[in-house]
């Protein structure tokens, strides 16, 4: 097993004909992902990268039975793309687009509330279940199949952690980038819940950062509902208060957003904290060999 994506994933790419969409859809296909369709309004009837293009998500699903959509639509139009995918009833949306206006995401969340669709991102690097399916930007060959789940707000830091794990021959069940935005579709809790239910996941690496209170939510969940071991790194311990560090999720808001507060909450929930980001792999190795 694994979570979210696997060998049964039939991937739809919204914005497939754009530069990024093309580049990454191709990399996903090379990895073995079953890309079944693309959506670009006005290009229905054409083919791109060997897959059929449709005007609407509704049509793409009807024709190809796509069950996951990955979104590369530019920020000004991305919320519309997410809403279209929700409305078409797709079970999983992975939104890569960075820089979607916050109020657009408020709309998306208001609409998503009664729906069964799961949204990962926006500003997500994607999801990979090594050896089965890659639906994201990550380099496939730094991953190997295994039993450690990885969930991260940051994309590049997630790659760093995975490469540490892989070098130590610790494989991954699934690696999920929930995205660095202020209003992510899925939070740590949502993904931890899936890892808890996944037989192939024996331990989890959680990579948090300053800003928001998502890590505190995760701590609460881990304390009460998660028996599997979790190790965590929180980026931003050296960040000065009140400085914007790259994206909205990293504004320090109140003391709860500080790295130290997050570390405290996770640590109290029984999570192993890794102080040095270069030693996340080693810590997991130690953790696994002890258990």
């Amino acid at each position: 097993m694994s979570i979210l994506v696997d060998e049964n994933t039939r991937l739809l790419v919204q914005g497939i004909t754009g530069n990024e969409g093309t580049f990454h859809a191709q990399r996903c296909m090379e990895y073995g992902t079953n890309v079944v369709a693309g959506v670009t309004p006005g290009k229905e009837g054409t083919q791109h990268l060997g897959v059929p293009i449709f005007n609407t998500v509704e049509r793409a699903i009807a024709e190809t039975e796509a069950n996951v959509s990955i979104i590369f639509v530019p920020p000004a139009f991305a919320a519309d793309g997410i809403l279209e995918a929700i409305d078409a009833g797709i079970p999983l949306i992975i939104c890569i687009t960075e820089g979607i206006p916050v109020l657009d995401m408020v709309k998306v969340h208001s609409y998503l509330r009664n729906k069964s669709t799961r949204l990962i991102g926006p500003n997500s690097p994607g999801v990979i279940s090594p050896g089965k399916c890659k639906a994201g930007l990550m380099l496939g060959d730094i991953h190997i199949p295994g039993n450690v789940g990885v969930v991260s707000r940051s994309g590049t830091l997630c790659y760093e952690v995975v490469s540490q794990l892989t070098k130590l021959n610790i494989g991954q069940s699934t690696c999920v980038g929930i995205g660095g935005d202020a209003l992510p579709g899925s939070t740590f809790i949502d993904i931890l819940r899936l890892f808890r239910e996944d037989k192939d996941t024996r331990a989890v690496v959680l990579i948090g950062e300053i800003g928001s209170t998502f890590e505190q939510g995760a701590a609460e969940f881990i304390r009460n509902e998660m028996a599997k071991p979790v190790i965590a790194f929180i980026a931003g311990i050296s960040a000065p208060p009140g400085k914007r560090m790259g994206h909205a999720g990293a504004i320090i808001t109140g003391s709860a957003g500080k790295a130290s507060e997050k570390i405290k909450a996770l640590s109290q929930a029984g999570v192993t904290i890794v102080p040095n980001p270069a030693e996340i792999g080693l810590t997991m190795q130690k953790n696994i060999s002890e258990s």
């Binding site: 530069n19 990024e20 990454h24 920020p75 000004a76 820089g99 979607i100 206006p101 916050v102 109020l103 657009d104 995401m105 408020v106 709309k107 969340h109 208001s110 690097p125 930007l137 990550m138 380099l139 730094i142 991260s152 707000r153 940051s154 994309g155 590049t156 830091l157 997630c158 790659y159 760093e160 490469s163 660095g180 202020a182 209003l183 990579i207 950062e209 300053i210 928001s212 209170t213 790194f233 980026a235 931003g236 311990i237 050296s238 960040a239 000065p240 009140g242 400085k243 560090m245 790259g246 994206h247 909205a248 999720g249 990293a250 109140g254 102080p275 040095n276 980001p277 270069a278 030693e279």
Partner: protein, 389 residues
């Protein structure tokens, strides 16, 4: 994005929210004239992108036009240091000259996005005029909250609830409710990230007026607000950060150390800064290079390091995903060609197209220090910076 108080008040006023009479002045003479127009008395407020002006001497009361002129001349052209600014302070180039209102009570009102509820949240308090964080700590019961559901907007009952929470009575309740609805319209129409009126004053004749106002805007939504974009005052920002933006580097933050950093992704960038600190050094900046399609932004990043005299060494740590290691490598080579690079450069590349990137660097003949992994990069950068003092 931040704007000045006087600009925020113009926007509030356009949305039907009462503000004190007054105008902005760029010279002491103008300040004098405006004070005369206002009837001879005025409050002179330094316009800077930071709070805490009052305690720092940035707000002066003038009871004659001449006093106003003098106050303005004491502010314009200086740098104001408050508890929210750097020790060098921020330049004052404009003052807001306003009627002096007689105030009965000071309230608080704001809207921001609540990340947990994923909705705009309106907060009101009878304890205005001070920082709301203090109120939240000392007497949380004094803050009333209500969420703004997009399907129904801010309803009158929510306005009344907050108005009663601010201890308003009679006609003030309806007045406050309308004011809140207007602030909500402004917040949504202009994609604000924060709309704050503090204090929202009750004047001696019982009217509500926005005595001070702060509006911040969602940078991601600025593309659809050309009018707001124009308001940006770059003099108020860190010169290096303004320069970075001009060179296409949107995620640059000046820090206090001496190691220039070129990284990708906010999380990895923060972690790299953490690791530098862990190794005993300090980063000179946070720089997330973002998605690079050509070598320009890499070259510009090196221009930034050269422009920052504090930089003693540079760490490049790129884990390619959207960013491609080959383009980064080409950019570095290009930078060496175009620029006079005198500091040691430590490079660690990984991820998308890394082999090609390493080949380009190796074949270029440039003088750099290769790092074999994340830790090695940070360690060598700290070492190099120390040696280069």
């Amino acid at each position: 994005m931040k704007i000045h108080e006087y600009q925020a008040k113009l926007l509030l006023s356009q949305y039907g929210i009462p503000v004190p009479q007054g105008r902005v002045a760029s010279t002491p003479t103008e300040a004098k004239e405006i004070t005369t127009e206002l009837g001879g008395k005025a409050v002179i407020k330094a316009q800077i992108y930071a709070g805490g002006r009052g305690k720092a001497g940035g707000i002066k009361v003038a009871s004659t036009p001449e006093e106003a002129e003098r106050a303005a001349s004491q502010l314009i052209g200086t740098r104001l240091v408050t508890h929210q600014t750097s020790p060098e302070g921020i330049p004052v180039t404009k003052v807001l000259v306003e009627e002096a209102c007689e105030i009965e009570r000071e309230l608080y009102l704001s809207i921001l996005i609540d990340g947990t509820a994923r909705l705009p949240l309106m907060m009101a308090s009878e304890a205005g005029g001070i920082e709301i964080e203090e109120v939240a700590q000392s007497s949380p019961g004094k803050i009333s909250r209500t969420y703004i559901e997009l399907a129904i907007g801010l309803q009158a009952y929510q306005g009344r609830k907050l108005a009663y929470g601010m201890n308003l009575h009679g006609k003030q309740v309806g007045e406050a409710t309308r004011l809140m609805a207007n602030l909500c319209n402004l917040f949504i129409a202009k994609d604000c990230s924060l709309a704050e009126i503090n204090p929202l004053a009750i004047t001696a004749n019982g009217k509500l007026v926005a005595l001070d106002a702060k509006l911040d805007f969602d940078n991601s939504a600025l593309f659809r607000h050309k009018d707001i974009q124009k308001l940006q005052d770059e003099e108020q920002e860190e010169a290096l950060e303004v320069q970075a933006r001009k060179w296409g580097i949107n995620n640059y933050v000046k820090l206090n150390g001496n190691i220039g950093c070129m990284l990708n992704g906010a999380g990895l960038s923060m972690a790299a800064n953490d690791l530098i600190q862990h190794c005993g050094g300090r980063a000179a900046n946070f720089l997330d290079i973002g998605v690079v399609n050509n070598t320009n932004r890499v070259v510009n990043s090196f221009k930034m390091f050269i422009a920052d005299p504090r930089v003693k060494a540079v760490l490049v740590n790129i884990f390619g995903g959207i960013a491609r290691a080959d383009i980064i490598a080409r950019g570095i080579v290009e930078a060496y060609k175009q620029l006079d690079i005198r500091f040691p450069v430590i490079i660690r590349l990984a991820g998308t197209n890394v082999e090609e990137g390493k080949r380009i660097l190796a074949e270029s003949g440039i003088n750099f220090i290769e790092a074999k992994d994340f830790y090695d990069g940070a360690y060598k950068a700290v070492e190099a910076a120390r040696d280069n003092k």
